[in-house]
């Protein structure tokens, strides 16, 4: 009985892993085969790159890649600046109203930007940022979550370092830049990985705010490309899907440990 159990558990674990990875594997396989071979599961049929060629010609992918890249960069830079400043103020400065404002910030953790799409759309239009990459990124820059993360990280910096820098004649911003920011590097890395993969994958808000190929990120481009009205076949959609997930997926496979650590650090507060 016990020996049977010893084999059943690993078998279950591996079976679940195979099931879990199979949608990706099937799409990968289909992307490299002609549609008729893919749907008939001709396992020994010839490999081809035609689907990628068709998909690539069907939409301005290079532009979409560029847009997503710009979006992710703009959001990350904005988040780094804003959360560093606010996190530092919450962690190391003492001023009236601090706790009240901090509670307001925490509340934003539950007011999801996704839910406020109607009014955020109105706000972005009012600011003249409709259909711009800045408009897509702006609502996410003052991330309550990021502020919280930076505050935690700065709090753990020993006050002696702060004092020493001050005696050396460093101003407050100088101390932040020369003492706190370098010490928080792991937190920045973790936050960057989470932020990049979140915004690389974000869909609903970019769908609402973008209206032209010049600003559309990959996810929105992919959804338009794969829309049934366009009558694209399954192999070509698979190829397009593979193309658009490839950068993030490769990065993940290469830096798996860091990714997992990052998600952990970000999740456990």
């Amino acid at each position: 009985m016990n020996t049977v159990l010893r084999y059943i558990e690993p078998a279950g674990a591996i079976l679940l892993a195979v099931i879990w990875i199979s949608p990706l594997m099937f799409a990968f396989w289909a992307a490299f085969h002609s549609t008729s071979d893919a749907v008939n599961f001709n396992l020994f049929s010839a490999w081809t790159l035609d689907n990628f060629r068709t998909a690539w010609d069907g939409a301005p992918w290079l532009r979409y890649f560029l847009n997503t890249f710009l979006l992710v960069t703009v959001v990350l830079i904005g988040q780094f600046i804003l959360t560093t400043l606010a996190g530092f103020a919450f962690a190391k400065l003492d001023f009236p109203g601090k706790n009240f404002v901090f509670i307001l910030v925490l509340m934003q953790l539950f007011i999801l930007p996704e839910v406020l799409i109607v009014e955020n759309y109105a706000m972005v239009s009012r600011l003249g940022l409709f259909d711009s990459i800045l408009g897509v990124g702006m609502p996410y820059m003052a991330s309550a979550f990021g502020i919280f993360l930076m505050r935690q990280s700065f709090k753990s910096v020993p006050i002696e370092l702060h004092e020493a820098a001050r005696i050396e004649g460093c101003g407050l911003l100088g101390i932040l830049w020369r003492v706190y920011v370098p010490l928080a590097k792991p937190t920045y890395l973790a936050y960057a990985l989470v932020s990049v993969s979140t915004h690389w994958n974000n869909f609903l808000w970019p769908l609402i705010v973008t209206n032209s190929p010049e600003t559309r990120p990959l996810t929105v481009g992919l959804s338009i490309f794969g829309a049934p009205e366009n009558g694209v076949d399954i192999s070509v959609i698979s190829a397009a899907t593979m193309m658009s997930v490839a950068p993030l997926l490769l990065a993940f496979l290469l830096f798996q440990r860091q990714f997992v650590q990052a998600f952990l650090r970000a999740g456990i507060k």
């Binding site: 799409a27 400043l85 103020a89 996704e114 799409i117 994958n201 996810t219 899907t241």
Partner: protein, 297 residues
Amino acid sequence: MNKHINLEKRRQAIYGWLLLSPAAVLLSLFAFYPSFATFVSSLFSKKTRRKPSEFIELENYADLFADPTFWLVVKNNLFYAAITIPVSIAIALAMALWANSKIPARGFVRTAYFTPTVLPMIAAANLWLFFYTPGLGVLDQIGSLFGLPSVNWLGQPETALWAVIIVTIWKEAGFFMIFYLAALQTIPEDLKEAADIEGCSRWTYTRRIVLPLLMPTTLFIMVNAMINSVKLIDHLFILTKGGPSDASKLILYYIWEMAFAFFDAPHAAAMTILVLAVLCVVAAIQFFYLDRRTHYQ
């Protein structure tokens, strides 16, 4: 001396507010003001060419409560939450226990479990389309091996929501696994040794020692899963578009449709306020739980 301290206090206050101001401005523009504006616009009627918008108190809410589609969507979303939350947590727990034990090919197993997390929901939906397509899809091909008839998984009201639910579970279980995995690694080895000396079976050890120690993690994951059951709707745009006959429509998708397809902002606003109210309850649970956890430590 006193003057010096006062000066330092003033300096900190000025710096504090200066450093906060960029974040405060953006938070006000994209979280606080919109929440307030949503509430206000939920109390006004829709502006048409003939009639200007006017104050109608809670009429938009009354309309919603009288709208059978709204109730269907609420029911769908509750069902969506009731299935995805417990199932994805259970699978995540199993994954973590396995990924943490000494099994062959552990690296592959962990990677396989976690990979869906880094894919966009839109891409996930495209992958699953390949499974669900009637006649050609993988599920139908497997079914036909056993002589089962072709099923239009996404096209019939009985199965469409299930198809959506399965994609969500697939997407989030690996993410939740990570938190369990981290918690498992903090359980001290000597507990296992003590259990072995007492002659505990592995099952007893898991049920009596591991699961209770994982309770705080489970609560944390549960809050995340609740938020996700409101938030994760991207795949609807590819798989079902809420159909057939609204059978798989979820609240956030309905809000989007109301506002950007039917151009009915006031009713979308009323619905948004209701969702925010629910999220407040979730927030309250989280704060309550955080309180509890500090008692543990």
